[in-house]
């Protein structure tokens, strides 16, 4: 049941809507949705500031939502709760989330832009398929879906004054750059 390109775009738009929600809430704008049999089963966004917990990334929020719903995780259906589930996320999952997704047996990850500081699906290290694991199978992670939107929303977050930073820098002279070159 492979989704076609149009469906990928449709689902990434849903993930992007979650990123917009994060931005509106003053969070680093990352959003995601989990799709099973062409149906969205969970959507979430980054809540690290709200929950005072740097580990509450969008992916882990959504996974908890799925695991809290017995209808989505029928007991005994599979060793891996996400074996038939695809993740759409605006930014490449970080090393923590990439490992979590492998432990959950995710089928596939489609993401927007890559993350060369924390990326766990190739950005820094390939936790998804390059690192060996004694039991969890590797999964495919493909970037580039709605990549420009994903980059732009991050830029929109970073051009705004960040009053939470230890020593806020004046960003009055900062301009939002909109030009994006191919990767």
């Amino acid at each position: 049941m492979a989704a076609n390109t149009g469906e990928h775009e449709k689902f990434m738009a849903e993930a992007m809507a979650m990123a917009e929600e994060a931005l509106a809430a003053g969070e680093v704008p990352v959003g995601c949705i989990f799709v099973r049999e062409n149906t969205i089963i969970a959507k979430a966004r980054n809540r690290t500031n709200e929950l005072r917990n740097a580990t509450r990334h969008a992916e882990l929020e959504a996974i908890d939502e799925i695991m809290a719903d017995p209808a989505l995780t029928p007991p005994g259906s599979s060793g891996y709760p996400l074996a038939d589930t695809t993740l759409y996320v605006t930014v490449e999952p970080c090393i923590m989330c990439a490992s979590a997704l492998r432990q959950m047996g995710i089928k596939q990850v489609l993401y927007g832009c890559s993350n060369d500081r924390f990326g766990g699906c190739g950005g820094v290290i390939g936790i998804n398929d390059r690192l060996a694991h004694p039991s969890h199978p590797p999964y495919e992670a493909i970037g580039g879906y709605s990549r420009e939107d994903a980059i732009l929303i991050l830029r929109r977050f970073y051009v705004t004054e960040n009053s939470n930073a230890p020593t806020p820098k004046s960003k009055v002279n900062r301009v939002l750059k909109t030009e994006i070159l191919p990767p």
Partner: protein, 380 residues
């Protein structure tokens, strides 16, 4: 300890051998003055030493930086003055010399470009100095730790030499070792009990109240796990009871701390960092904005986490996100661990926080064999 340096701090040669471990109730560092510094070989743990890196031309990590040639020596003074006033943040270039002289030409380093393929614009230059166009070149990503590395890096760009010195590792006092001993025992006991009584995986994580070298803290040291201060947090693995594969002890303890801070309201006084100063400059570039800011709320700054098993990659990165100071673990997880087993998360290039890793070799090993074994394929 040096002869044990096999690239993994000697960890791979260490085996738990109950027969050789003394059954004395207290290890030797319980004798002697609290504030005495313990010699490295008497510490109840071995520090993780990252493998030497960047000793060959292939292993030199580089970043792309914008540079400009200044052909006229008379312009150098003006150029330096302009650089000081410009808002080109040089924090990512602190390990490099700013100017390189070759023959009659001086070349100035201007700014970092993290993703050259995304960069369309070079930084703007002073209008009143005649200069050619700036260009990108690869420069070393970090200071040189050894003279071999320095030679290789200097060939790319003049680099700062910053060798690791022996004194750089933090000294431990007897008092602190006793504190750690108590903390590791507490974690071991928790894991044993949860494994035995509750059928959980026997894995626990403990963040004790920070060590204080005053007399009161000293009185607490040899005491039991029950004597947890308000600022101490203990959690165990609940993946079985919660039927959730990610309910690891470390994730649970981080959540516990976050919830406690949120409840007590003292977070209001803590700055919530959504960005770090080092990131700012990159945001000005044309690259993809960095994500080190992804919800950093430095829950574990200056804190030591004790755990019975080497944390998995997810948990190791969660600890990095939380800015833990150091992690002390008892049992290595060679296939799945994120602190030197499967990979070493804080040693990966690019990550913006490092934490210390210690493999416990002290007396808690006595208890380690009683019910703490988990399958080698488990992510602890």
């Amino acid at each position: 300890p040096d002869q044990l340096d096999d690239g993994w701090g000697g960890l791979s040669s260490v085996d738990v051998d109950s027969g050789s471990v003394s059954k004395a109730p207290f290890p030797p560092f319980f004798r002697g003055a609290v504030d005495d510094i313990l010699p490295e070989e008497e510490l109840p743990f071995e520090r993780f030493k990252p493998p030497p890196e960047e000793e060959t031309a292939d292993s030199i990590r580089t970043i792309q930086a914008w540079a400009v040639d200044v052909p006229d020596p008379r312009s150098i003074g003006l150029m330096l003055k302009w650089l000081r006033r410009s808002d080109l943040d040089a924090s990512e270039l602190g390990h490099l010399k700013r100017v390189r002289k070759q023959n009659d030409t001086s070349t100035f380093l201007l700014s970092v470009s993290t993703s050259p393929s995304l960069s369309s614009e070079p930084p703007s230059l002073p209008a009143d100095i005649p200069l050619p166009a700036p260009y990108l070149l690869p420069v070393p990503a970090s200071a040189a730790l050894t003279l071999t590395s320095l030679d290789l890096k200097n060939a790319l760009w003049p680099t700062v030499y910053a060798p690791r010195r022996k004194g750089e590792v933090e000294p431990w006092t007897r008092g602190r070792a006793r504190w750690a001993w108590g903390a590791m025992r507490a974690a071991v006991r928790e894991a044993q009990q949860r494994g035995r009584d509750a059928g959980e995986l026997p894995v626990a994580a403990y963040v004790p109240a920070p060590y204080q070298s005053d007399a009161d803290a000293d009185a607490d040291l040899a005491s039991d796990a029950d004597d947890k201060g308000a600022d101490a947090f203990m959690a165990h693995d609940t993946r079985r009871s919660a039927a959730h594969p990610l309910r690891h002890a470390v994730m649970n303890v981080i959540r516990q701390i976050a919830d406690a801070r949120a409840r007590s309201g003292d977070v209001a006084e803590q700055p919530i960092h959504t960005s770090t100063p080092g990131d700012e400059e990159e945001n000005d570039s044309d690259s993809v904005p960095p994500l080190n800011a992804n919800g950093t709320n430095y829950l574990l700054t200056a804190r030591t986490l004790f755990t019975t098993h080497e944390p998995c990659i997810m948990c190791s990165m969660a600890l990095l996100h939380s800015r833990v100071k150091e992690v002390v673990y008892l049992l290595p997880m060679r296939a799945t661990g994120g602190c030197g087993g499967g990979t070493c998360v804080p040693a990966l290039p690019g990550v913006n926080h490092r934490f210390g890793i210690c493999r416990w070799t002290g007396d808690a090993v006595l208890e380690a064999e009683a019910g703490l074994q988990v399958d080698a394929s488990v992510d602890a």
